[in-house]
């Protein structure tokens, strides 16, 4: 039950983009087509999991014991960025087709605040390692869902008679706002 609530909360109630307003730049930038959105969402899930897997031990075995928790942000940035770089090198050598299809998204995620945000939230909530991993997976799924929804809408908007001044980003922002309102309705269902 615990885990179920954790999932529902991370995916819907506290959706990383629509409720926490983190990672809005890839949300706007890569949501023009559903295919790209799915690619981006998958890459984000992958990187979030990796980031939590590395930052959680770092926080628990280095930063907290040595009393240097205040370095959290800068350390996490360094670690996540290096991690993504490493993953890129690794994929290029070992699984070139996966690298070719993800290639564009990995560098985009390097400094993505959603990834960073999840890494930090995990620490604030004092989750165990397994719970932390579950939380980041659920947050990633929440990001993917938001992205797929908005990209599907934007695909229709592209060919709909939208007034010229609203075309493109403006109407996308309005849509995102409405989606956000919709997600806020989950508020109060659980923590």
């Amino acid at each position: 039950m615990d885990y179920f609530m954790l999932f529902v909360s991370a995916i819907f109630i506290n959706n990383i983009v629509l409720v926490q307003y983190l990672g809005t730049c890839p949300f706007m930038g890569t949501s023009k087509s559903t295919d790209v959105a799915i690619g981006m969402g998958a890459a984000v899930i992958f990187v979030m999991l990796m980031a939590t897997a590395f930052t959680w031990p770092l926080q628990h075995y280095v930063l907290t014991p040595y009393g240097i928790g205040y370095l959290q942000t800068i350390v996490f940035i360094l670690v996540i960025a290096s991690l993504v770089q490493f993953v890129e090198l690794f994929l290029k050598k070992v699984i070139p087709p996966l690298h070719a299809s993800l290639g564009l998204f990995l560098p985009l995620i390097t400094t993505n605040c959603a990834v960073m945000g999840v890494a930090i939230m995990v620490q604030r909530s004092n989750y165990s390692f397994v719970k932390a991993m579950a939380f980041s997976l659920a947050s990633g799924i929440g990001f993917l869902i938001a992205l797929v929804i908005i990209s599907s809408i934007r695909e229709r908007l592209d060919v709909s008679p939208v007034p010229t001044v609203f075309r493109g980003i403006p109407v996308a922002l309005i849509t995102a706002g409405v989606m956000s309102l919709v997600f806020l309705a989950f508020q109060g269902m659980a923590a």
Binding site: Y66, Q85, F90, K92, V159
Partner: protein
């Protein structure tokens, strides 16, 4: 605290940097510098049209030798040449391709599908890519617009995709993404060689036209004033628009959807209008021809089928040579079909357009006498197309059918104007009910003769065009229906008349089968000349081998050489036949259509060694395309062709009887076309003429 912080960060940074440095070394992927150069040449659209996941993968494939330098569908020849230079290889000619929207439905397609909630076809299409009754038409989803990486497609106000041909790089994404198949990628060759398929969006007229001309499209182009475009559309399927526009009986008009409410569109008149526009402009519309492929094809016979085959072969890039027995190229179009229907100068102009593409001709060379199949093979021809026509008129098979004064239709028509210049005071009896027979009636009447025609059936069953029969009667021809000659009467060795009898069908109410002579109905008609125009048969003299044995099987019914109906390939694999030598006596447009079918087959035969049959070929009229009823909002009377006066017809042979119409009239007629799809049509066609006094508003648009 500051020191420890700096230290921690420094150590962490150092670790990360070292790990990355080591990883970079171990995981280093050696890149061929050529990959980078090749990639730099590619447009970088990552469209995937080449079959690789993106330009980088495409470049790698080229360098690894897995793909040719011309692989990029989005790039032009220049790019391919640059890549070839990097790779030190040669570029092969790559035909340019473009996307075309084949659906003219758009918002009208919607009219047919009133929204009926979630289960409505459009809702289904949106949600599940589901079906709607027209499997082809555009429903304006705009998927194509979205997937195009080159901004080459937009949706028009009517919700139909419009392709910008200059921007289109033919990557094929749109065609792939379109859920209804309304967008296709095609090159010139593929358009020229495409045969109608049941899953194409086919207006009834396009189904019925033997040459499968895209009637709907050229009529629309004519209406918009795009005459060049209209000409090019016609020439996709018919290289002889001037001749066809003059003598075609227009089977398409009989099935035109507009006929359900009033009269069919005057398709044939519009066809001629477009063709005349080109000739009158004095310049020929530029036609794209692929560079020579090195495949040589011999064409026996310079009639319409031979010319058509040569034209299509040349346009797709092969090198045809026409061998013609007579002095002139043009077959029956030149010298047999009378001047007042199809002037020789018009035929010459049209033939020249085809020859200008680079078709070689050798006139005065008879097949079987001066050149044989073996000779042609020796000379390097990879395929032979036989289109020698049906020039033999069978004797009447009655007493005295060889008497002096008995002629066959071909020799008579050939001699009109030089051998036969004046028949005043004479009576001519013509036997037969074909177009050729009507030509004979009209020519003899113009030369001053009194003409009686013995037609062996009722008017409706005659093979001649309705127009031709009307013209023959107008000029004074005495057409005696349901009669057959019994014997030719002779006086002093020359014809003096014909005895004939009446015919009757077994059941006069239902005229089916062959009518039989009625006993006791003998009659006599005086005549100075009797002209047999009953039929025309294939002369198989030249189609025999050295020992005199026939080289090909013949169809018992038509008398033509048998061949595969789609590929026109005979039992000798590299020999193809078409035109009347295959079908027996037929219409001009059928010969033109055969020429294209044969060109398609020959193209595959010489390039791939086997001729594929197209899938789902349309052979019959697709039943659902003929709607039972329909609603049209405006009724505009059909245009009438101007005709010269009867007096002029009697005194001149050179002037054409039917003239061309003016642009305004052509435009108005074009507005009658409903731009039909398979099941949809434009009920509002012609709305711009509402205020004209001859236009009736039938249903107020928008009302039920």
């Amino acid at each position: 605290m500051v020191t420890s912080s700096i230290l921690v960060l420094f150590l962490l940074g150092l670790t990360a940097a070292s790990v990355l440095a080591v990883a970079a070394r171990i995981l280093h992927v050696k890149e061929d510098p050529r990959v980078v150069s090749v990639e730099a040449c590619l447009p970088g659209a990552n469209c995937g049209g080449c079959g690789y996941p993106g330009c980088s993968a495409a470049a790698t494939a080229v360098v690894n030798g897995d793909a040719p330098p011309e692989l990029c569908v989005a790039a032009n020849m220049e790019t391919a040449t640059r890549i070839a230079a990097i790779m030190g290889s040669e570029v092969q000619f790559k035909e340019p391709k473009v996307a075309t929207n084949i659906c003219s439905g758009g918002s009208r397609a919607n009219l047919l599908f009133d929204y009926k909630g979630v289960e409505d076809c459009r809702a289904e299409a949106l949600l599940y890519g589901g079906e709607k009754s027209c499997g082809i038409g555009c429903i304006g989803l705009g998927t194509c617009v979205k997937v195009c990486g080159f901004n080459a497609i937009r949706l028009s106000d009517a919700g139909l995709p419009v392709v910008d041909w200059n921007a289109c790089r033919s990557c094929g994404k749109c065609a792939e993404a379109c859920p209804t198949g309304a967008i296709r990628i095609s090159s010139v060759a593929s358009v020229l060689l495409h045969l109608n398929q049941t899953d194409d969006c086919l207006a009834p007229c396009m189904q019925k036209c033997p040459a499968q001309i895209n009637v709907r499209r050229y009529i629309q182009q004519l209406k918009q004033g795009d005459m060049r475009g209209a000409m090019l559309t016609i020439k996709e399927h018919n290289p002889l628009p001037l001749a066809v526009g003059r003598v075609c009986p227009a089977p398409c008009e009989n099935i035109c959807r507009r006929k359900i409410v009033d009269e069919g569109v005057a398709i044939h008149t519009l066809h001629r209008y477009v063709a005349d526009w080109e000739m009158q402009s004095g310049t020929r519309v530029n036609l794209h021809c692929n560079p020579p492929s090195g495949h040589k094809v011999a064409i026996i016979g310079g009639g319409p089928a031979g010319l058509s085959c040569a034209y299509f072969l040349r346009r797709v890039g092969h090198e045809p040579v026409i061998f013609e027995k007579r002095e002139h190229i043009g077959g029956m179009m030149r010298g047999i079909i009378p001047e007042y229907r199809l002037p020789a100068k018009v035929v010459d102009w049209e033939v020249q357009t085809i020859l200008n593409l680079g078709v070689e001709t050798r006139t005065g060379v008879a097949f079987g006498r001066d050149v044989t199949l073996a000779d042609l093979e020796k000379e390097g021809f990879e395929a032979v197309f036989i289109a020698t026509g049906a020039w033999k008129v069978p004797p009447l098979g009655i007493d005295n059918d060889d008497a002096e004064g008995v002629l066959d239709s071909i020799s008579f028509l050939h001699g009109v104007g030089h051998v036969y210049t004046d028949l005043r005071g004479k009576t001519v009896a013509v036997v037969g009910g074909s177009n050729t027979a009507m030509d004979v009636v009209r020519s003899a009447a113009r030369l001053g003769a009194e003409v009686v025609a013995l037609v062996p059936c009722i008017q409706r069953k005659m093979s001649a065009n309705k127009e031709e029969i009307l013209r023959a009667v107008e000029i004074g021809g005495d057409l005696r229906y349901m009669t057959a000659p019994l014997a030719i009467e002779v006086e002093n060795g020359a014809v003096s008349g014909v005895t004939y009898c009446d015919l009757a069908y077994d059941n006069p109410e239902k005229p089916v089968g062959e009518p039989k002579p009625v006993s006791g109905t003998k009659a006599f008609v005086r005549a100075d000349m009797v002209i047999a125009a009953t039929d025309r048969l294939v002369d198989d003299g030249p189609l025999c081998d050295a020992e005199g044995k026939p080289m090909f099987k013949k169809d018992k019914k038509t008398g033509g050489i048998t061949a595969n109906p789609t590929t026109l390939q005979t039992d000798i694999p590299n020999v193809f036949v078409g035109g009347e030598v295959h079908t027996g006596r037929s219409i001009l447009i059928q010969a033109v259509a055969d020429g294209r079918r044969a060109a398609r087959a020959i193209h595959f035969h010489v390039t791939e060694g086997a001729v594929p049959e197209p899938d789902n070929q349309q052979v019959q009229v697709i039943p659902e395309s003929i709607l039972k009823d329909m609603r049209v909002n405006y009724s505009i009377p059909r245009v009438q062709e101007p005709l010269i006066s009867m007096d002029e017809r009697r005194h001149t042979f050179k002037e054409e009887v039917a003239g061309s119409i003016a642009y305004e009239k052509a435009r108005k007629e074009a507005s009658r076309c409903l731009r039909c799809g398979l099941t949809c049509y434009d009920a509002d066609a012609g709305a711009e003429y509402t205020l004209d006094e001859d236009v009736t508003v039938i249903n107020a648009p928008g009302g039920e």
